[in-house]
């Protein structure tokens, strides 16, 4: 019957390979949607600048390599700090003013910021990508029998799983996370306990942005470091967040990995639809469970 649809069923080993690749892409979706979920869950800001901040992470790695000779490994720390600090400045001077307004204002503000940041980099570096090579330590790959797994991709899965789990743990299972969640529910009360809520919120935004920048550094050796790399991804990542449930940390992580796999399978069975599959799922999820798979209905 499948043949009637002109769909060839690939042999099992080929399918394993595709599943693994789906998982790798899912790792990026998970890291990016995680940052978005943290920011939305705790600040109620729909951070449309997330794609631009991801791009800034990759560019930061590229620039410090080419101007300061600092390689990949230190970049994993430096780029998130630099870009996170930049994010905190944005929060402090701009985003802070729209907290009390409708979500739409935060969305428009961050979207505008994204366009400005992208525009500046496009003006300076053009749309063509800049090269960034894989660190020597992770060059090459393993032959798994059913596919050739580049070492770097394996590292991406491991690194992003660690960061995702770590973030989830801090927010859902530690005292600091409890403060954060409490501050979102009732800032006045938490402030009354002597906690500096505005500073905590600034740091949270910075953390979310740093996660995006980290994903950017991880992505730099795989994709091109280009001003538009984030804008291409951000819409998909938003779909992931919506599917997982706006503001749900676990939803973002699980949704990211799961949708990576589903997209990967689409690429085997019907490649032409691979850029659409996620949005079809989003529509279905919204119809059946409007708050998203892991979201709480308010």
């Amino acid at each position: 019957m499948l043949e009637w649809l002109h769909i060839a069923v690939p042999p099992a080993p080929a399918l394993f390979g595709q599943l693994l690749i789906g998982l790798i892409n899912g790792a990026f979706y998970a890291m990016l949607s995680l940052g978005l979920a943290v920011i939305f869950g705790l600040l109620n800001i729909i951070n449309f600048a997330h794609g631009a901040q991801y791009m800034l992470g990759a560019f930061c790695a590229y620039l410090i390599l080419n101007y300061l000779g600092i390689g990949y490994w230190p970049s994993l720390l430096i780029a998130p700090i630099v870009v996170g600090a930049f994010g905190m400045l944005l929060e402090r001077f701009f985003i802070r003013w729209v907290y009390r307004l409708d979500h739409l204002y935060g969305l428009l503000l961050t979207f505008g910021m994204a366009l400005i940041i992208q525009g500046v980099f496009q003006q300076q570096y053009g749309s063509a990508g800049q090269p960034y090579s894989i660190p020597d330590l992770l060059a090459g790959g393993q032959d798994l029998g059913f596919m050739f797994l580049p070492n770097y991709r394996a590292w991406v899965i491991v690194a992003s799983s660690v960061f995702c789990f770590g973030t989830w743990f801090v927010i859902e299972r530690t005292r600091l996370g409890a403060y954060l969640r409490a501050a979102t529910e009732n800032p006045a009360l938490v402030q009354a306990f002597g906690i500096n809520v505005p500073r905590m919120i600034t740091l949270t935004y910075g953390f979310g942005v740093a996660l995006a920048a980290l994903a950017g550094v991880l992505a730099a050796p795989i994709y091109q470091v280009s001003p538009l790399m984030g804008s291409n991804l951000i819409i998909v990542v938003f779909a992931v967040v919506v599917i997982g449930g706006m503001g749900s940390i676990l939803g973002a992580i699980v949704g990211g990995f799961a949708l990576g796999v589903i997209e990967g399978l689409t690429k085997v069975f019907y490649p032409e639809a691979s850029s659409t599959a996620i949005f079809v799922i989003m529509v279905v999820v919204l119809l059946v469970k409007p708050a998203g798979l892991f979201g709480r209905t308010v």
């Binding site: 080929a14 053009g126 749309s127 063509a128 090579s133 690429k267 659409t276």
Partner: protein, 405 residues
């Protein structure tokens, strides 16, 4: 509203329309050239503002005036969408007095815009657009396809690789007019030279991750993986192919449309050894270098792509023909363009055929290794010069209705 006031309103409206028409004609006190391309996305570095710079350089070199009228260059972003491109073209032709549209990357848009221009007897000078259908099924008496096309790329690169032993092919194809055309043209050459096509996969335009498709290509065991895509898609697929050990595993990559900016984005370490076909490379001779140097000074130090160089040549030739024909009429100017030989820094004794195809030499290059490269942008070594009549589709195979068989 009673009948009389209705009548009055209708009369007023008619007057307003009547008044508008002469105003539109009055705008015809200058010659306007519209550069239309991708200004913001995946192909913007192939043309983009660089093509506007090239068009302005040509206007400047021509003297800034033709038929006693000043020449103006305007530009717009078609966002790679045929409907957007066609809408801009209609507005440009009908309201803004545009005489010719140049550049037009993204073949699906180029085909749509060429159709709009053809209906109005206006000129299209296509430089970055690639589909050979632009001078085939969709040819136009006022359309000129300047720099390259999919047939030439397929023919020159495809043939060279099959001759070197790359017999079985798998295609990774951008899923729109240009990609399909490039795949079809190359597949035809491969089969004609004794090779086979074992499979292909259609990938949506502007895709970031190619690993899934590369894996399919790897499992097909084809000797050659043909990349029937362009711009960022080509760069990402080559970069990720290196990561997945495709070339080390004994398969070969054929980049069917690779520009110098792509090689720059890849880095020589990844791109070395790649064979590609272009109509222009900045470091070919004193004239090409002189143009590149001027262009760099005007455009943030970037070397011109062949598409941008082609925009310069096309605009200059168009203006020369307009001066010789002593009219702005699109059909007559293009007829004059066909009569005049094309000679500039990149084209030597080129000519425009009845189907609109510019016949020029094409060059087969190979990307240098990092050791061979001595100075910035020292990227290519020239393997062969392919005369235009061998590189491009012969008229006898053309589907263009203007060609009488």
């Amino acid at each position: 509203m009673n009948r009389r006031s209705l009548l009055a309103a209708g009369f007023a409206a008619a007057l307003a329309f009547g008044a508008a028409a002469p105003a539109a004609q009055a705008a015809n006190d200058k010659v306007v050239i519209g550069v239309m391309n991708d200004m913001s996305s995946v192909y913007s570095y192939l043309g983009g503002m660089g093509s506007v710079v090239a068009a302005r350089m040509a206007v400047h070199d021509f003297g800034g005036k033709v038929l006693g009228k000043p020449i103006e260059v305007i530009y717009a972003d078609h966002q790679n969408k045929p409907d957007v491109g066609a809408a801009i073209a209609r507005k440009w032709f009908d309201e803004d007095g545009v005489d010719a549209i140049v550049d037009l990357p993204t073949s699906s848009v180029a085909i749509a815009v060429q159709q709009v221009a053809k209906e109005r007897g206006k000129v299209t000078l296509i430089s970055n657009g690639g589909s050979s259908e632009l001078t085939g099924k969709f040819c136009s008496p006022t359309g000129v396809h300047w720099t390259y096309d999919t047939y030439a790329l397929a023919h020159v690169t495809g043939k060279a690789i099959v001759q070197q032993g790359g017999k079985s092919w798998f295609f990774i194809t951008a899923d729109y007019a240009f990609g399909h055309q490039l795949q079809d043209d190359t597949a035809a050459v491969v089969k004609a030279s004794g090779g086979t096509v074992v499979g292909s996969v259609n990938v949506p335009l502007n895709n970031a991750d190619f690993s899934s498709f590369l894996l399919q290509a790897q499992q097909s065991k084809a000797q050659v993986i043909g990349l029937a895509n362009a711009g960022g898609d080509t760069v990402n697929s080559i970069k990720q192919a290196a990561e997945f050990g495709i070339v080390k595993g004994g398969q070969r990559l054929a980049g069917l449309l690779v520009f110098i900016a792509d090689v720059n984005a890849l880095g020589l370490q990844t791109a070395q050894g790649l064979m590609l076909t272009e109509a222009y490379y900045w470091d070919q001779n004193a004239q090409t270098r002189a143009f590149a140097k001027r262009f760099e000074a005007e455009y943030n130090g970037k070397v011109p792509t062949s598409g941008q160089a082609g925009v310069y040549g096309a605009v200059l030739h168009y203006l020369k023909a307009m001066a010789a024909a002593k009219t702005e009429d699109g059909v007559k100017v293009v007829a004059e363009m066909r009569k005049l030989p094309i000679n500039d820094f990149m084209t030597h004794n080129g000519k425009i055929r009845i189907d609109g195809r510019v016949i020029r030499d094409m060059y087969l290059f190979q990307v240098k290794s990092p050791q061979e490269s001595k100075y910035p942008y020292d990227y290519y070594k020239q393997l062969a010069v392919i005369p235009g009549d061998q590189a491009f589709r012969p008229l006898s195979e053309s589907e263009c209705p203007l060609v009488k068989h």
